[in-house]
Symmetry: C2
Subunit: 132 residues, 2 copies
DNA sequence: GGCACTGTCCTATCGTGCTGGTACGGGGGT
DNA sequence: ACCCCCGTACCAGCACGATAGGACAGTGCC
């Protein structure tokens, strides 16, 4: 499981980390019981401060997505997957909705919009293949 | 032309304002030569600080989208529309792409994604009718 | 027991974006 | 000429997220 931060995103690094874990759990790429990278390890990998990772993990624990076992590691919570499903669905719907609103406000027609979405889907699934 | 700020958006008020003007110009809702709301007026309407609006206008002027005539007002620049077309197209593509990536990462299938987009389009065009 | 690794906590500091307030100079209608 | 509204500029201050560094306690392995 790789995590990475897009510095050009308007979302803060901590939020991006949180989102990525949530989505990975919701999609089943991270199963309940799986061990997440260590705070320090993930910080080094994602080039952020360990404190930022720790805060993200703490938020996730508060949301019931993960469980942290001090001295051992952070694990996906037992029912974290179902908890994430609703959560990530809501997030995704909200953000996709916003992006579509923007696109229409910018004068794009439905056809062009459809084409952009298709293209993004194809690009994204191609990347998924490569990483498989 | 109404502008409003969504405080729940991850984007800063200034950026939201900037985007909205850009999209309005790109879509032809604001034509070259049209007068934009005054710094103070828009600030009062959108519940932000006049300084924030002034900065957004300055950025837009730097991008060649608007022209400011001190003592008079801020106007859409002569070739602002064409300048915006490319700009907003790029922005929209980027953000829609990100949202689609997220949705797929969250485990949504293409069919569900399609359904969400359709729903957002319909909701959005319904709002457009109401405001027409 | 000792060691390496884990998560946790705390404080100080920086950068950035927004706020609040004030002041200046120009345009345009009266 | 006057006054009102306009954009512009500048400043101090605040909030927030991220950074940096250090210290602590628990777990697991040897």
């Amino acid at each position: 499981m790789r995590f990475e931060i897009d510095p050009r995103s308007p979302r803060s690094p901590g939020e991006q980390l949180q989102d990525q874990v949530t989505f990975a759990v919701a999609s089943g790429r991270l199963l309940p019981g799986a061990k997440l990278p260590s705070v320090r390890g993930l910080a080094a990998q994602a080039l952020v401060n360990p404190n930022t990772v720790a805060r993200a993990y703490r938020e996730l624990e508060h949301a019931g997505v993960v469980e942290s076992r001090p001295g051992d590691g952070v694990y996906v919570a037992a029912r974290g997957d179902s908890r994430c499903a609703a959560l990530s669905g809501k997030l995704v719907r909200e953000r996709l909705g916003r992006a579509v609103d923007e696109a229409l406000a910018a004068g794009l027609g439905e056809a062009e919009l459809q084409e952009i979405v298709d293209r993004a889907v194809r690009r994204s699934s191609k990347e998924r293949e490569v990483n498989a």
